[in-house]
Symmetry: D2
Subunit: 337 residues, 4 copies
């Protein structure tokens, strides 16, 4: 049995992770920490969760029994806690952005803080298991990928070499849970229901994360545009991706084959022919990918769907944990979450 704790367990990702860990046959839940809800029962805060437990204040000293700690704090608030836990000998999976960017100099511009622990940035493994399985297995600190980057990178990475994209446009549409539990005008039912719109059309923080991961693997530089939108839907991200190859236009079959070969045997990535929709991945840890070659436009279109809170956050975090502890990667992830 692995003993696990969650720091900041009462956001959306924390709640889904609580449910997943509670159902995992090899995990014993240690501490669930919360600043706002300390002292309250899990099923009182989330009546839909049938988990026995009570939130406690964060106290690094009382987490010694935890072999792994999931940090679900917002960016800029996570890194001090992550550092403290690592220094105390815990293995950490950080769901924030605080260790995703490799270059410390990017933090001030993109996240508004100067990163104090470049030593840990170097250790951090970008936890996209299908692309980084080996590194994750041995990691002490996993930087769990952002929700938008997850689907986009799974779709694009296998094509970087063969297609040498010179331009990539990612038009992404996310369910509202991606905006978090905060009660703002943006998350008010009346602003979301029967409505649709974009936000952060230029300079969304996930742009730099996607670019970093693409450029690590691409031979040459590429232009990248990313536009997120908010759907009147609870769960899921669908990204429609437009890739302009520098090479001759491939056949649809060729592109599909590139994806199928990369993900052959992967339990959570499915390359499909019929158009996928959010429904097919909601509440699961799956990513579905489809290809459409648009010869007239000179573009390869890719469609990637995931559940933003599962494969895009907590499910992927659990998948990473399974890898880190030598367990079957799908353990605790077969059921809906």
């Amino acid at each position: 049995m692995i003993t696990a704790s969650i720091i900041g367990a009462t956001g959306f990702t924390g709640a889904v992770l609580t449910d997943l860990l509670d159902g995992h046959p090899q995990v014993r839940l240690d501490a669930l920490t919360s600043i706002s809800y300390a002292g309250r029962r899990v099923d009182e805060v989330f009546p839909q969760l049938r988990v026995d437990g009570e939130y406690v204040p964060y106290d690094a000293g009382r987490l010694d029994a935890s072999q792994v700690v999931f940090v679900c704090y917002p960016h800029a608030e996570a890194h001090p806690v992550v550092a403290e836990l690592l220094d105390g000998g815990r293995r950490v999976i950080d769901l924030s952005a605080d260790f995703r960017l490799r270059a410390a100099e990017l933090y001030p511009e993109w996240y508004g803080f100067s990163h104090p622990r470049t030593d840990l940035l170097e250790q951090a493994v970008y936890g996209l298991p299908e692309l980084e399985r080996e590194a994750v297995t041995g990691a002490r600190l996993v930087a769990n990928p952002g929700c938008f980057p997850t689907g986009a990178l799974l779709a694009l990475t296998p094509l970087l070499g063969p297609l040498s994209p010179e331009l990539v446009v990612i038009d992404a549409k996310s369910g509202l849970s991606g905006a978090g539990r905060g009660t703002t005008e943006k998350t008010h039912f009346s602003n979301v229901h029967d409505n649709f719109g974009s936000y952060s059309e230029v300079g969304h923080r996930h742009t730099v994360e996607i670019r970093q991961e693409l450029e690590r693997r691409a031979s040459s530089s590429l232009s990248l545009a990313f536009t997120p939108h908010l759907l009147p839907v609870e769960r899921g991200i669908l990204s429609t991706i437009y890739l302009k190859p520098a090479v001759e236009m491939p056949e649809q079959q060729e592109v599909e084959s590139l994806l199928r070969e990369t993900y052959q045997g992967e339990p959570f990535v499915e390359v499909v022919t019929a158009t996928p929709s959010l429904r097919e991945v909601q509440y699961t840890n799956h990513c579905r990918l489809a290809v459409r070659v648009d010869r007239d436009a000179g573009l390869v279109k890719l469609i990637a769907v995931i559940d933003n809170l599962v494969k895009g956050a907590s499910g992927q975090a659990l998948q990473n944990m399974n890898l880190m502890f030598g367990l079957d990667e799908t353990l605790g992830l077969e059921r809906r979450a």
Copy 2:
């Protein structure tokens, strides 16, 4: 008073048009025809409409009193009726695609029928009032634009000259009413609600319509990709458009100014700075446009929102009628529809 009839009045566009014409101070409704609902009252078929009237079978001979006839039949079924009405001396606004394409040779490939009336194709005016006001005014036959082309063309047309786009990507998201009243698996609540997906990712019929209208006005050829998606929303289309200029990247202000100048004084086109959402145009004849220049990506992003059944269909048809009969263009279009 203008006497007007609607052929095929019981689809979504027919119903909205019925409501609009009924509320128009200068229109007298003549015949509302329907194949399936002949003999039934309007408010029985559409209890939300408070319109006095009964559907009748189509009979060209009984439409002599109508100065204008709106044809709301599906493509391929509209053109024989349009031809008969024009031959009988009526002015016609056709909401189908049957007279939108200028080149008769495109019909077999894109719409599956050989066009029998190339003479009428030549007469037909593409009814986008903001771009074709003069032609519409004198038209006997108006081909009312498709819902997707309307927003996209309003956003793109003013930029064709100044920006010389070499690549245009239109990622469009439509409310479900765009799929029509037909009861299919696609329109079943359980397939739409809390779901999202694309369709016809390559070769949607509106692609050729958009390309025709862009190429008429562009100095050089361009690559065009169009991808429609279905939103779990009743009304509205939001198009996120990516334009790669052949010229040097403009400033955001420059692009906004190009749009503002083109649409200055236009009652139904609004260039805005804050991100627009569907809510702002639903049930109205307005189109809202916004610009975001993404310098890193080398792209100009445009956002266009309309109501697919109003500015994207029946409202625009009424706007065209107002022009054809010398009325104030906004008459009957101030209220929600």
Copy 3:
């Protein structure tokens, strides 16, 4: 032209009222006051409103030009303003509950404050035009009815004498806009969307308002149960009402006739045979009523639908204003709001 102001114009009822007054042919908008948004433009706060104007702080001294003032403050905050305006000679339509209850002694228990102006309570007219037309016409102070009472009272009042109900159960379902613009857990999209539940199952404040109005008109006392629920819908209230008559069970036709006779000629109350749904009244000032006699159960079932923000609030307020100023009751209320 009537000069009108709105106090607290940036809640949902204030916004709908702003739109309605702006479109009213006989109204000139004077002041739109707001505490939080003073200095900001209407179309900046509500981009879907195409109203020219700016919010100002409340200042009774600057409202002298207003012949009528609509007060859209929450209960307990409205009465001081209402009193000040009346004392200053304005006619007031109060959309809060502060003058709906006739008996001052009810306020501490139901609304948590002791009413300081029993003199005004006596003057206040309960503004349900179809039942109180004459009183409204001459009123200086109209207490605009609550959203839930409006539909229920229109359905029940005509039956009080003939059916002598001994028990009335009102099971009401409201769109989320009834919960207001406040950003709370209750109004977060993720708690409302694809969900449904009741609240205030016993002792909701509208219970006492409904009971007061029923008992004023009923010959004998009756038992009354009221249960509100929240729908994942923006607009509308559907109340399913169960009435146990003390007299012999009537035929369905008899009950329908009682309603039809009462509301004959009323522009906004429609007695229908087919089952009504929210769609039929959303964004309108209409109330639709239907009857189902359940002989086996010994109950008369009534269904009442309204738009909570129009007939249930701002539309009805405007209808009251029309009456107070001798205008056609439907003026400004023909269009969707």
Copy 4:
């Protein structure tokens, strides 16, 4: 391992059952039959199901290996198949209404057919496990309860003796999946989304089923009203129940205790104090019950929530199967479905 088949596996209940049986550790799926989809793969018809298999035509002769057969046909079409399977020695769980009513003479009036197998009606066990555990265990034929009766009966049955209700009103609200996969005007997204309404306000078929089960257990007769409504929600039923006791009004605690005692130790029935909502039971086999005593109205209010496709259909069917085969009742029902 239990070998199980599903007849009519491509409706909503069949699809959920397929998923549940596929995930059940003690079940081997034998045949999945379908008239319309024979020859097609499960994951082609339902891309959200990750079940390996292909639909086959119904052929009783090829079901000999099945120890239990679930029949998911519509009422009136199920009974011939059920009879054939029973005669062939299979144990059957019938999800239709064809064996729910004990009195054969009720079928012509309520279901429009004359029941040919009164011998089987006598054998059939009404499969509400919490109330009929022993009978289900030994049953050859289980009549799986209707979705509306399930929640209502779990709420009401424990109170029949102690409270002697003289009147019961059940105001039920169901997610759209209750209307089935049929593509009709009623299930079109545009008629359901952002809308709400009742249907079959008098004489819905579940009324007689509820009355039968209440009267079997009540000492005296009672008046019963049942009104179903359709929610713009995919899954779940919330019933608001009004019970007028013939005895003195009980305290809320007393009623809660009656429910808690009855369901103590039950894995799937939860008596809660906070108001339950659909969210808390969607995709699970749980029923949540809450009590509100309305002393002023002289009524006990009960709230019951279930998932109509799980506890209201396929999950309950699986729970019945577990009982029939001596398995832990919760097996295969821990995960979301």
